[in-house]
Homo-oligomer: 358 residues x 2
């Protein structure tokens, strides 16, 4: 059993904490550990560190290596450019196949939060069992809590099997990011799960599926395969990536494949998609104020604020429902519920070419 | 014509910008000049710098000297301890009398804001004329804009004289800081003016009044008088101050004296008593946001905020009516209208002995 942590992404929604050089998974939003550190801490009880691979970009490789001393340097795979998840997963599968042709591969995003880690591990082990003897592509599905757009929706089919008390279902269909109307319909109909972006499959099975549904990308992977471990590795990967199309594994493979299974996971999941989401899941004091970094807070008649300020004393007087984020050179004050509009700030900075703040 | 700038006071209401070491008059809240610098800039057209005296405390003398290079060092009078305004004004009157026995003395607080400086100068010159030939104690009265408690109220008497088109009135009575009920009554009755704390009189006249109404303090001043200019000056002043009672010129003299006159001044006055008062008089952009220090602001759906942050980029998203003040080690976020409760923060800091933040 191997793990592949996908650590790409920019995290505009977490400005000013996330920056081009410091995307969300490298931030310690919830305390002393960063999201990628938490992701790895979470699976170490079931997957040893030398079987954990991380795929990242050249911009973040150094910081990531610094944050993950337990991961062998050669397990940090550096993509020369972002090409979405299909090439990323293909490269990782290829690398793992070379070490272990029968490997089972757990794919995890680097920047999610899980409440019940024990439950997650149980489900991953079950998923590995479900994937072990065949070509099944197992996804972890999240019971939806509302008609959220922006996620993929898995339509749950009939029961496939039960492993150690955990139910594994066929997947009838997958709809990537349906609109508001359709999302509402899915929820009222029932039987849909959110696509968590967590997958479990044999490395050989996903490579076969890529060969079937994304032959161009598979050809690119084969071109790279020959160079892996040779002195030309880097330059070949760069050439091939330059030619590959950018596509997610969800659109490129999962939506089309007919051998997809799903395990519903009720382990308290959040993709930590916005500052608002962070306030929802963060721990709070008796007045609803949340300050994960133990800032000193003097709150007078002030409630339900999210404070991300590192070293300062914070005094709040008669303020409610604010998101307060400070970095060395920026201060964001945002009403809770409006955090999706932080991207407008980033757009303005881009338009004004104030790149130092991005 | 001489000026005495009273530069004492702590400014708890301007925490965290004002601190024990940096009271309000030493802050550049409105731009590049501090309030005391603005106070002196304002009178320089009518009073030369070598006739301007500043009374301050030992804690602030160095910073004040740095901020006021145009004021001769010997014109900065240092009180060994705060004893309210009566001893302060007495010491200044004594010092000025030594230079010029016929001197007229303009007393000004160091931390007020005036909109129409030309009007103020006109009124001060008129007041000086009214004070020149006699013992009249001239005050500058402000037409009240609301039933504000915490000010002194001057009851305007009959017209005394008209000088260069400016009316000078007798003062019928003075009520220092009346309660809410009485303040409302004063306003509905009419004929009351706020005591601005600006006075004009002959140095000899105020010393006579102190001798009459505060004989103990006058005795102390006489004890100091003998030592002024001698090597013992400092130690004698310290001894005498230690014995003097702490009392304002308003309670101690003005309320009792029957030779008080008032000139109503409609020059746009503010005692800059709180962050809320600052927002009222500060210049604002089209969205009502005020940032006197030219901070870079990106405001998305955000209105009527007062921002006192020096070097950072400030991003506001969907926030209204906030007071945002940042120092090197503190950040205050306060709802506009609640700035009187900032003193609660200061009290908490005092109780917790977090003196580093005071």
């Amino acid at each position: 059993m191997y793990a592949v942590i996908m650590a790409g992404g920019r995290g505009v929604r977490f400005w000013p904490m996330s920056r081009e050089k410091r995307p969300k998974h490298l931030l310690d939003i919830f305390g002393s550990r960063t999201l990628i550190q938490e992701t790895i801490d979470r699976i170490l009880p079931i997957i040893p560190s030398d079987r954990i691979f991380v795929v990242t970009s050249i911009t973040h490789a150094d910081e990531l290596t610094r944050q993950l001393p337990e991961i062998p340097r050669e397990n940090i795979l550096v993509e020369p450019m972002g090409r979405n998840t299909a090439p990323c997963i293909g490269l990782a599968a290829l690398t793992i196949m070379k070490k272990d042709p029968g490997a089972i591969m757990v794919v995890l995003p680097a920047d999610h939060r899980i409440e019940s880690e024990e439950k997650l591990r149980q489900i991953l082990l079950t998923a590995a069992d479900a994937a072990r003897n065949g070509k099944t592509l197992v996804t972890i599905g999240i019971p939806p809590t509302g008609p959220v757009t922006g996620y993929g929706y898995l339509e749950q089919g009939p029961l496939k099997e039960t492993i150690a008390g955990v139910s594994v279902y066929h997947v009838q269909s997958i709809r990537e990011k349906p609109g508001a109307e359709q999302t509402k319909e899915f929820l009222s109909r029932g039987g849909f799960l959110w696509n968590s972006g967590m997958f479990v499959w044999k490395a050989s099975a996903i490579l076969e599926a890529i060969a079937l549904w994304l032959p161009d990308i598979h050809q690119g992977l084969m071109d790279m395969d020959l160079s892996l471990g040779t002195p030309d590795e880097c330059s070949i990967i760069e050439q091939v990536y330059g030619r590959m199309k950018s596509i997610s594994i969800d659109y490129g493979v999962m939506e089309k494949a007919d051998n997809v299974a799903v395990i519903p996971g009720d382990f308290g999941w959040s993709d930590v998609g916005s500052w608002d989401a962070i306030w929802e899941i963060a721990s709070k004091d008796g007045q609803g104020n949340s300050s994960p970094n133990q800032a000193r807070i003097i709150a007078v008649d002030s409630y339900d604020n999210l404070i991300q300020v590192k070293d300062k004393l914070i005094a709040l007087v008669d303020v409610k429902d604010l998101i307060i984020v400070e970095t060395d050179d920026e201060l964001l004050i945002c009403k809770r519920g409006a955090s999706q509009d932080i991207r407008k700030v980033v757009e303005i900075l881009e338009n004004k070419k104030m790149t130092g703040y991005l």
